[in-house]
């Protein structure tokens, strides 16, 4: 009998717990009658979510270390310029908008793109989360487009915000509207050129990162080609100058002029020289010409390759997500 009583009390207590839990949590199902976002707004929400992810927001403190460190590094020339200008106002700016320490920018962007592009795309590939996105009211291309827009914005932030700081530092030392206007115009072209960096590097980085779901492999897939192409382009430029010398009077060799097309960083450098018509056409650098990309008479090639590479990488990214399994 005691065993029976125990069972009975045990059953009773279980039932009581269940009943209470039911009372608390059984709130019933609530319908959602409010407005729903359209396709464009959903894509914007995904873009914003990814943009935050690119800087480690919404994740642990560890995820923010590298993007913040790289961002600070990129701002350093602007800070140095501001200090130098404050101490010696007559000396003029030591950092230009277009040529914002290209070698630093190349290294910082290489690391930023290699580390952060995988954060945007490889987790969804690795965890097979994509079918959940595709089963929602967005189109097949919307996912890669949102990711690309997010990463372009992330790259724009790290490229352009230092330029704005540089501008602030310069403008405080200017006198008169004409000088400020001159600064603003230079800033404008600098921002435009910075946008070329952001767009190209973001699309290359995302395409390479989307090839694999493993984060470590994705970092290598982005970092290794970017790094070695940069080394190779610089080496070939140098070899071209030493081995072949100038092709004619004031004209660098073909090898030196075309070597810059190999790496996105030298491609962007060559693009600037072509647009500006700067001394890189001759290969005769002044000591303060930081972007040592020789383009010779092949300037238009740099413009053409830039456009083709951009189209190929964006197209490749969209094609990549057309192939990926639905479920």
């Amino acid at each position: 009998m005691s065993a029976d009583a125990k069972t009975a009390s045990g059953q009773f207590s279980t039932a009581a717990v269940d009943g209470r839990a039911g009372e608390i949590h059984n709130i019933g199902y609530r319908r959602y009658d409010g407005g729903r976002l359209g396709r464009v707004q959903i894509v914007r929400a995904l873009m914003w979510h990814s943009l935050r992810g690119a800087y480690g927001f919404g994740r642990g403190a560890k995820a923010k270390i590298f993007p913040m460190l790289l961002f600070a590094l990129m701002c350093l020339p602007a800070a140095v310029n501001a200090v130098a200008l404050a101490n010696n106002p007559s000396g003029g700016a030591i950092v230009s908008y277009d040529g914002y320490v290209p070698s630093l920018r190349a290294i910082v962007m290489l690391i930023f793109v290699a580390l952060q592009a995988p954060n945007l795309v490889s987790a969804d590939l690795r965890n097979h989360t994509l079918p959940l996105y595709f089963a929602r009211p967005i189109g097949r291309n919307d996912y890669p487009i949102a990711k690309l827009a997010a990463f372009v914005l992330a790259c724009l932030a790290i490229v352009e915000i230092p330029l704005l700081l540089l501008y602030l530092g310069n403008v405080t030392q200017q006198h008169g509207a004409s000088e400020v206007w001159a600064q603003t115009r230079q800033l404008g072209s600098g921002l435009l050129y910075g946008a070329a960096w952001a767009v190209l590097l973001a699309s290359i980085g995302l395409l390479l990162a989307s090839l694999t779901g493993r984060r470590v492999f994705a970092i290598c897939a982005v970092g290794i080609p970017l790094f070695f192409s940069y080394i190779l382009a610089n080496a070939l430029t140098h070899i071209g100058q030493v081995a072949y010398g100038p092709a004619g009077l004031g004209q660098p060799s073909t090898l030196s002029s075309l070597a810059g097309l190999i790496s996105p960083f030298t491609l962007l450098g060559g693009l600037l020289h072509w647009l500006q018509g700067s001394p890189a056409t001759t290969g005769q650098f002044r000591p303060n010409d930081l972007q040592r990309v020789i383009i010779g008479t092949y300037g238009p090639w740099y413009g053409l390759v830039f456009v083709l590479l951009l189209l190929a990488t964006v197209g490749g990214l969209i094609a990549r997500y057309r192939k990926v399994g639905v479920a």
Binding site: I27, R36, Q41, T129, R136, P137, A327
Partner: protein, 336 residues
């Protein structure tokens, strides 16, 4: 939307029925020239919980992908909630929630963050997404755990998160692909109870794909069985199993006494596990059992209606299945 017939040829084709949740007509999907995933599948599914039964590779997942508008059929047409699957994919995906068969969860995110984000992706504004994510996770039985990273969850909890993300956008229809995959028996029962509750209390229609026929029987109103991309049978559970109901009776003590008493009163009880099975002829059977138990003064522990296992109904033609011995009885016979 279903377009009105404009040519005589189209008019000859029967229109997709109004009011059906899912409607397929002559649906065919071929991969390349050799693989036929769906072959002239025509079926109409009404509201309620519908089981989609078939072996692995029978075409269940392909059908779900077509219904979501993610895959274009080779020929034929399909509609979900009145929207054509080819032209109305956006509308369908707004109105339906999808739970995939395989793992699809990031381990390094909390369930709340994940479901909230997917709520946004379903078109909910930020605040609504947060509220509905909390609601959905509570409905599937995740409370404080929802603030933990999904990587720390058990398989059963992960399945619940997958269900919650399908539920977050307040769908009219849930498409669940093998929701009990990888769960232990207790987890299966809990998941099936949950699906049954969503179907009955939340008023959401559910298509649940499974290769385990016995499971589906417990929770479905209707059944669609496919094999090699072809329709085997589509009917309501009750009409499929009507002729074969049995009653399971369990008493805490005196099972032998009851067996003798029921035999005396004209039923043919069979011992089954700890209880007795009798054929359920009509309402009178209940009365006989009640009176027998009451007269003997036995503590009645359980009395429930059981059906044929659905495997048998599909293994043979319906007439033969109806006349065969119920599954549990044969099981007991081999034991005793």
């Amino acid at each position: 939307m279903i377009t009105q017939p404009s040519t005589p040829a189209e008019a000859q084709q029967p229109q997709l029925a109004q009011g059906a949740v899912i409607e397929a007509r002559g649906l065919t999907k071929r991969y390349g020239t050799t693989v036929t995933a769906l072959d002239q599948l025509s079926v109409a599914v009404g509201p309620g919980i519908t089981g989609l039964i078939g072996a692995n590779g029978a075409g269940k997942s392909t059908l779900i992908k077509i219904l979501l508008g993610l895959l274009a059929p080779t020929s034929g047409q399909a509609a979900v909630l009145g929207h054509d699957c080819v032209s109305g994919g956006f509308a369908i995906r707004t109105l339906s929630g999808y739970m995939p068969e395989h793992d699809c969860l990031p381990p390094d995110v909390t369930a709340t963050e994940f479901v909230t984000h997917l709520g946004r992706m379903s078109g909910l504004p930020a605040t609504a997404a947060k509220e509905r994510a909390a609601d959905s996770l509570r409905h599937v039985g995740l409370y404080e755990e929802r603030y933990r990273q999904i990587g720390t969850y058990s398989t059963g909890m992960k399945q619940r998160v997958k269900l919650a993300q399908a539920l977050v956008g307040d769908p009219r229809l849930l498409l669940l692909d093998e929701p009990t995959n990888g769960l232990d028996p207790a987890g299966r029962t809990a998941m099936l109870d949950l699906i049954a509750r969503i179907g009955s209390e939340f008023g959401i229609s559910i298509l649940v794909a499974s290769h385990l026929l016995g499971e589906i029987e417990q929770i479905c109103d209707n059944l669609v069985a496919i094999d090699n991309g072809r329709l085997l049978r589509a009917d309501s559970i009750s009409s499929v199993t009507q002729a074969s109901a049995v009653l399971l009776i369990e008493v805490d003590e005196g099972t032998e006494l009851l067996l003798a008493e029921l035999s005396r009163r004209g039923l043919a009880p069979v011992a089954y596990q700890r209880g007795l099975l009798v054929q359920l002829a009509d309402e009178q059977t209940y009365d006989i059992v009640r009176d027998s138990v009451a007269d003997l003064g036995l503590p009645l522990g359980r009395m429930e209606q059981r059906r044929h296992r659905i495997e048998e109904l599909f293994r043979q033609d319906p007439a033969a299945a109806a006349s065969s011995v119920p599954g549990p009885t044969t099981g007991a016979a081999s034991v005793s």
